[in-house]
Symmetry: C2
DNA sequence: CGAGCACTTGATCGCTTTCAATAGCTGTGG
DNA sequence: CCACAGCTATTGAAAGCGATCAAGTGCTCG
């Protein structure tokens, strides 16, 4: 409510998400154009950034923090449909609203552009449009992976899949390319994990306990997870342990 | 196995998917460029068009017929992650394979482009890239809608949701804008519907019977469906009956 | 110290799956 | 023409998994 809407690095070249965000492909001169129209906004944990159905006059990238995209049915059942980590893009050029609630899970800072200027920019600088297409295709792939999890996996496999996705994303962010035990923090409550996986919070809790008891993971507090053997976790997730890499 | 790979309309302006496919935004001169590199391929019902993990040296649009995108786990559980109807696009520019099986559900004809020339075309003619971005964003929205269905809806709601999606898509294809009873054919077996919805074929069958018994739908044979009251169906699907339109 | 919140754990219920038998349709060959 | 194989779909009965309802624990913050 009282978060300042001005902040940090006005300089794109120092930006922590410079190489992964929608601007990743931009040349120096294109960055300048973006720099001229960008502005930062911050939200506190728990704040709703955009309400489903609302008009949305900006688009933007998550710079730091985490947000979720959720859909809610009239009777309150909710399903998370997107987990927005730093560098992820929010908003849809060419459409005035989102059909999802966008909610800050942690304190979050976004790099925003008013929609109209951004759309013009897209038309003029192919690098932005290209990168956005690539990111959207990646998100579509992720959504389809997620559909397999939701539709066909057991509760235990769902939890293991979620942990393995999270672990890999975390590792790629830290450039932590190698093996050995993997440690990361859960950015979500048990309830939010349930909303991600189509489970109740009780089932999430039970399966976390079960995985811990079976030595697949270790818990340090409620949120810090250690995975001693990643291939074991992927087995539990029902995925090929070899990772199934494609060119 | 013996389907001829040559056919029909070499003329884009007569093409039935001209206004919805990846070429929808193209001007006459751009169409000519596409026309020069396109070729048709046909597949018979049941044929696998692309195997998961295979190298894929073309991209293309479905001209007529229906195909599915599916993921399969090692133990055989399968989840459909895409239903490809006429005008839908297959393949991912900038990547050499799909992680999904693409299977022809009916006899199908596709309008194909070798990947390299198509990628060049994309770089040169923004109208193609623009349209592809728009279509990908639409697919992402559809995938997210689908995730709510998979994660949170009951079997009955899943079936009702599927029928309502199918009905609306069919109506928009026929420009059948108005109300009154809606009639269409199911393009999928009970098993494929189960793979779409994360259900077993038995549950699909039971819920179809139940919806029929309750007067929500009428069945004419196993495949022809009549929906006397669309808003009733959408209620059963757990969706807002008013359709929740966004600008 | 007590309120509020996230989480854990237990007991029971019910929906969907699983296993199994049967029906209906289509095409093939005697 | 009918019998039969093969496939899709329906229906029944039983089992199992996750949801629901209900306490209870542990932590943080006033």
């Amino acid at each position: 409510m009282n978060a300042p809407n001005q902040t940090i690095s006005p300089n794109c070249s120092d930006c922590p998400i410079r190489h992964r965000a929608v601007c990743a492909r931009c040349e120096a001169d294109e960055l300048q154009t973006l720099e001229a129209i960008k502005y930062y906004r911050s939200f506190e944990a728990g704040q709703t950034i955009i309400w489903s159905g609302d008009k949305m006059d900006f688009v933007g990238s998550v710079v730091s923090g985490i947000a979720t995209l959720t859909q809610t049915m009239e009777d309150g059942r909710t399903q998370m449909v997107g987990l927005l980590l730093p560098s992820d893009f929010v908003g849809r050029p060419g459409r005035s609203g989102t059909p999802y609630d966008v909610v800050a899970t942690t304190d979050i800072t976004m790099c925003c552009f008013r929609k109209k200027p951004f759309e013009q920019m897209m038309a003029n600088t192919p690098h932005v449009a290209q990168r956005l297409l690539e990111m959207t295709l990646d998100e579509l792939d992720a959504a389809r992976e997620w559909m397999l999890v939701l539709g066909r996996k057991t509760a235990r496999e769902k939890i293991a899949s979620f942990l393995s996705i999270l672990g890999r994303r975390d590792a790629s962010l830290k450039q932590d390319g190698n093996s050995g035990p993997m440690v990361f923090d859960l950015p979500l409550t048990r309830e939010a994990m349930g909303d991600y996986l189509g489970l109740t919070l009780e089932t999430v809790s039970r399966q976390m306990t079960a995985l811990k008891k079976d030595g697949v993971i270790t818990l340090d507090g409620k949120r810090r997870v250690t995975v001693p053997d990643m291939s074991r976790l992927m087995e539990e997730a029902g995925d090929d342990a070899d990772g199934g890499v494609f060119a």
